[in-house]
């Protein structure tokens, strides 16, 4: 069986936000087992159901059972992909256990990668499993050191199987399938070869060979099959398998039914002493049973297009042969697998020898969803998280009664991972023992430590006198943080952090944050997803309002310190689109370089002196403002990644509504609308490794304010997220601004190059900011730029020409402009 596992975390101390983020990406990337491996779980039931070949003539109703469905290839893939490969409680055991070791090897090999204890389910596999795993077993037996015995017979004589010695190990040098009807041998690429586990060069005992013959005889593909050996001069043997392929009359209808959760048809043993009449009776009753079975079955997911395709195959072939059925099976299963129905399995073809071929599929219906918590050692334990929290993250397709889909499983994994409550997540489909053909989806979760604290330290070297770093100026800085997550098991969390660049003098720059997050305020069962958040915060930023224009060398900087409380409600509509609204109360303090509160900006006089009568920094004129305002932000974002490049639309509207509460009773309406379009210029095929389309990005940003506007809330123009090619605020600070930008992205290899043009304008509203900082610091109030760049991983390297001065410069920036 397969499972999807997010990599486990390290110690709880280390499980900071960053590491969680890593894990989330890893989880998405984590490869899922090739769906082939999953098939195996459903098949055991077949071994028990009686093969049609037990009937003297596989005529009419006896269902044709396809048993040996697993190609050796599929096993190799599952083992090689190193993903948890787990067989929980094999349904069948018993029989010859010669190949057990091989089966175990295959299972174990897969399990190693998952790290979740892949059970060697094959170990208990019996008759049936032996077939599945035997290629692996053979591979093992293939050891060159393996001893084999010479047949001890004259060369070039045909020996019946039962004439072989039971104590010898025979080396098989060649295997041939001989079609008796056509009188020719069958090529090695034929599907029949998938059905025998014997391989040339392998060493087998008589019992193994007999076993092989038995399985061939019971698989239903042959009317008659035998196994002959021919001795070679070098002591090895050649195996020839003469066979008569089963055929049925041609059909012109095809039907596919889901027989999951239905008991398998179990043909009644036929008494060989039955009279002709009894036999007819028997067939008739069987036919009736089968019809009832079809009626009871549910329609399957196979789309009409595939059904039509299969119908064509039927028509082309005329007579229905075993090989045709195999092809049909392959096609049907291929569709299921391509569409993620990893547990779907063709189990049977029924109604042969009528005009209709009925393909019975066990699609893998989910009978149960089990959520299990594990402790650090992997033992099942009681979890703290409440089940509804997890259940609401489940895609509908993973609910009871649905057909298991691996994509839905991946989605569930991603969704649960985004809760960031668990260090390890496994989504495990496993066969239901009580309900044949049913799947139990098992979700195994390892919870993260609820409480954690973290101290990280860093040393920063600050420039000392003359700009040179000195030893005395090395400061110990760092962050102390704590987190209490998943309070009440409802994913509520409380987190706090304190950061300073100098622990010896923390009053200089102490950044703190205390946040409480309360999700599901409408109730955990309510599909409406609203989260309440409240936080205390502070921040310190350099004001871009007090920046000089071109030519002005140095404007004394103004720092804007904000400290306050915030409470808001976020409603998530989709993963990216959301609506946030809340109340902010903050105190804004403006300081100069030496951390003194400064009520006005400073201006540099032509004489070189500095005068302190620049534009006022605050509304109150004292250097300290207090205000309360409502804040709302609505984001509509339907962007998505198409072959690694972003396409779609994004609109953001943000509103700050002053309430007239605070210093000088600030009453204002500050609003911003951002519109970004990522237009795909060429239709491309979607898929991994395919090249992304060229994209034209159009971007517009309008910001405006009516009412009281302190300078720290003025909109600034210029900077990497405003008008590239200029410094932050180099173009001005205004009451209303408009920015437009266009960027053309051309994919180059696995990254992209781009050209852009941008313009920002204050719409003549610079003078409406108190003190007109735009003019005081000799800024233009508007400006354009254009340039070109290339994306190198996370870094953008671009050459931008500042249109005001006509000079260009190379910039390196992190992240995206839009």
């Amino acid at each position: 069986m397969s499972s999807f596992a997010a990599p486990s975390h390290l110690l709880p101390l280390a499980s900071s936000a960053a590491s969680r983020r890593n894990s989330s990406t890893a989880a998405i990337v984590s490869r899922l087992p090739s769906s082939n491996s999953i098939i195996q779980c459903d098949l055991p039931s077949l071994a028990a159901s009686s093969p049609s070949s037990q009937n003297p003539k596989p005529s009419k109703s006896p269902p044709f059972l396809l048993k040996s469905l697993i190609s050796p290839k599929s096993l190799a893939i599952s083992a090689g992909s190193c993903i948890l490969f787990q067989l929980s409680t094999p349904l069948f055991s018993g029989g010859d256990s010669i190949f057990n070791s091989g089966g175990g090897g295959g299972g174990g090999g897969g399990g190693g990668g998952g790290g979740g204890g892949g059970g060697g389910g094959g170990g208990q596999g019996g008759n049936f499993w032996s077939r599945i795993f035997s290629p692996a077993a053979v591979a093992k037996d293939d050891d060159p050191q393996q001893e084999w015995d010479s047949h001890g017979l004259p060369a070039n004589i045909v020996v019946q199987l039962n004439k072989l010695s039971g104590f010898k190990k025979y080396k098989v040098s060649e295997i041939l399938f001989l079609d008796r009807r056509r009188g020719s041998t069958v090529g090695t690429e034929d599907s029949f070869f998938e059905m025998v586990s014997l391989r040339p060069g392998g060493v087998y005992t008589k019992a193994q060979l007999q076993k092989e013959l038995e399985t061939l005889a019971t698989c239903g593909m042959f009317e008659k099959v035998d196994l002959e050996t021919k001795t070679n001069p070098d002591g090895s043997i050649n195996i020839t398998i003469p066979f008569l392929e089963s055929t049925w009359q041609s059909a012109d209808r095809f039907r596919c039914i889901n027989v999951g959760l239905m008991p398998q048809s179990k043909p009644i043993e036929m008494d060989p002493d039955m009279t002709e009449k009894e036999r007819l009776e028997y067939y008739r009753s069987q036919e009736k049973d089968y019809r009832r079975r079809i009626e009871r079955s549910r329609p399957c997911l196979l789309p009409v297009s595939v059904q039509r395709e299969i119908l064509e195959m039927l028509r082309d072939h005329g007579k229905v042969s075993a090989r045709l059925l195999q092809k049909i099976r392959d096609r049907v299963q291929q569709w299921y697998q391509e569409n993620g129905y990893a547990c779907a399995q063709v189990v049977n073809f029924g109604n042969l020898n009528t005009k209709e071929v009925v393909c019975e599929v066990v699609e893998g219906d989910i009978t149960q969803l089990v959520i299990q918590f594990q402790d650090k050692l992997g033992n099942v334990c009681e979890g703290n998280t409440q089940f509804p929290v997890i259940k609401r993250e489940m895609p509908k397709q993973l609910r009871q009664g649905q057909v298991f889909n691996i994509e839905a499983g991946k989605q569930a994994l991603r969704n649960i991972n985004s809760l960031s409550l668990f260090s390890n997540i496994e989504v495990n489909p496993r066969p239901d023992e009580k309900n044949e053909g049913g799947i139990i989806v098992e979700i195994k979760l390892k919870e993260l430590e609820q409480k954690s604290a973290e101290v990280s330290t860093e040393w920063s070297i600050v420039p000392g006198r003359g700009g040179r770093p000195t030893l005395a100026s090395i400061q110990p800085g760092g962050t102390v943080s704590f987190e209490h997550r998943n309070i009440n098991g409802l994913n509520r969390s409380l987190l706090g952090s304190v950061t300073t660049s100098n622990f010896l003098n923390p009053q200089d720059d102490l950044a703190f944050k205390l946040e409480y997050v309360h999700p599901y305020i409408d109730g955990v069962y309510n599909p409406r997803n609203r989260t309440f958040r409240t936080s205390c915060f502070n921040s310190r930023k350099l004001s871009p309002v007090f920046t000089g224009g071109p030519g002005i060398e140095e404007v004394p900087p103004i720092w804007v310190d904000r400290a306050g409380v915030k409470a808001n409600i976020t409603e998530n509509f989709t993963r990216q689109s959301k609506f946030t609204y809340g109340l902010v109360m903050e105190e804004i303090t403006t300081r100069d370089e030496s951390s003194h509160i400064s009520a006005t900006g400073q201006r540099v006089l032509p004489s070189g002196g500095v005068s302190a009568d620049g534009p006022p920094t605050t509304l109150s004129g004292t250097g300290v403002d207090r205000m309360a305002f409502l804040q709302a932000n609505i984001t509509r974002d339907n962007t998505k990644f198409l072959n690694g490049t972003i396409v779609g639309e994004r609109n953001v509207f943000q509103l700050d509504q002053g309430l007239g509460i605070g210093s000088k009773f600030p009453f204002f309406n500050r609003h911003q609308l951002t519109v970004t379009r990522f237009l795909q210029l060429k239709q491309v095929e979607e898929g991994a490794g395919k090249s992304p389309p060229p994209v034209l990005v159009l971007h517009g940003h309008y910001g405006g304010c009516v009412g009281d506007l302190p300078s720290y809330d003025a909109f600034t123009l210029g900077g990497p997220y405003s008008v590239r090619g200029y410094n932050m605020g180099e173009l001005g600070a205004a009451r209303n601004i408009l920015e437009v930008a266009a960027e053309l992205r051309i994919p180059v290899r696995n990254t992209h190059a781009y050209v852009f043009a941008e313009h920002g304008n204050d719409l003549g509203s610079s003078k409406d900011v108190k003190g007109n900082p735009t003019e005081v610091y000799r800024r233009m109030g508007h400006g354009s730029s254009y340039g070109a760049g290339v994306k190198l991983g996370l870094v953008r390297a671009e050459y931008a020409v500042d249109h005001n001065s006509g000079t260009g410069a190379i910039f390196f920036r992190f992240g995206e402009r839009f």
Binding site: A408, T574, F653
Partner: protein, 278 residues
């Protein structure tokens, strides 16, 4: 203004009797119109003789004058009172320095004039400067921008250094009219006013009574004086503009921006391409 000591206008007695008589007459006329104070603002480029003009009006050497350098670093107000009538004359530093209008000076003048009412603006320029250039226009514009163009309705142009010999055989009158015409044109352009409110001091002596006469005329020309308050200096307070409409704007934003975006998101959700298995 209140704290300032207002001297008696004694220097008036130094004027010739005829001038004195005329002045008293004019002041009486002003008083009749219930004008008890008269504030005269003197502005102009550097070195045109603003301070000398002030000294001449007051009749005392109240501000130092020097022929070769700027002597007025900051605005100075001279107040004289005579029989209940107060005359304030404000001398200002030259507006032009190094070929540019000095914002700094303009700024200090503005701050100095805060909460004062200006009844008359005397724009001083030299008669013997031949050309009116862009700089004059800029100066005029700067004054208009700082105090509003209304101030030019209370303005008069004073041409100093009039004792010149006109060049190229132009008669004095002709030169004078040409010069004043071009200057007035410039003032009108710069101040963007069309009305010919600006008076030019006509030729002829005695000029002081004449000046005072015109000052009286200008004072009584029906336009009220310019009160220099914060609003005038800083321009209209943009913070107050549109404040009343904020509730309307908010309602508009809610119904015509937030709601449509919400609808849009719902549409997105509905249209979202579901994976094949969903």
């Amino acid at each position: 203004m209140a704290g300032q000591l207002i001297k008696e206008w004694t220097a008036i007695q130094q004027f010739p009797a005829a001038t004195q008589e005329k002045l008293v007459d004019l002041l009486g006329k002003l008083k009749n119109q219930n004008v008890n104070t008269l504030t005269i603002l003197v502005m102009g480029k550097g070195g045109v003789g603003k301070s000398s003009t002030v000294n001449s009006i007051v009749g005392e050497r109240v501000v130092t004058v020097s022929a070769f350098q700027s002597e007025t670093p900051r605005p100075v107000m001279v107040s004289r009172s005579r029989s209940g009538f107060t005359l304030n004359v404000i001398d200002t530093p030259g507006l032009v320095e190094g070929g540019y209008v000095n914002d700094q000076v303009l700024e200090t003048i503005k701050r100095f004039l805060l909460n004062k009412t200006i009844d008359v603006l005397l724009y001083v320029d030299r008669l013997d400067a031949y050309r009116v250039d862009n700089l004059d226009k800029q100066v005029v514009k700067a004054i208009a921008d700082s105090f509003g163009k209304e101030i030019w309705h209370k303005a008069m142009v004073v041409l100093t250094h009039a004792q010149l010999s006109p060049p190229d055989a132009l008669s004095y009158e002709e030169f004078f009219s040409k010069r004043s015409e071009s200057l007035l044109k410039c003032v009108r352009q710069g101040a963007r006013i069309s009305k010919k409110d600006v008076k030019i001091l006509p030729t002829g002596t005695p000029w002081i009574p004449n000046l005072v006469h015109i000052i009286t005329d200008v004072t009584l020309n029906g336009k009220s004086g310019i009160l220099v308050d914060k609003k005038l200096i800083e321009g209209p307070n943009a913070n107050d503009r549109g404040k009343l409409f904020i509730p309307l704007i908010l309602a508009f934003q809610y119904f015509f921006v937030i709601k449509p975006i919400q609808k849009w998101i719902k549409y997105d959700v509905a249209r979202e391409s579901k994976p094949s298995w969903d």
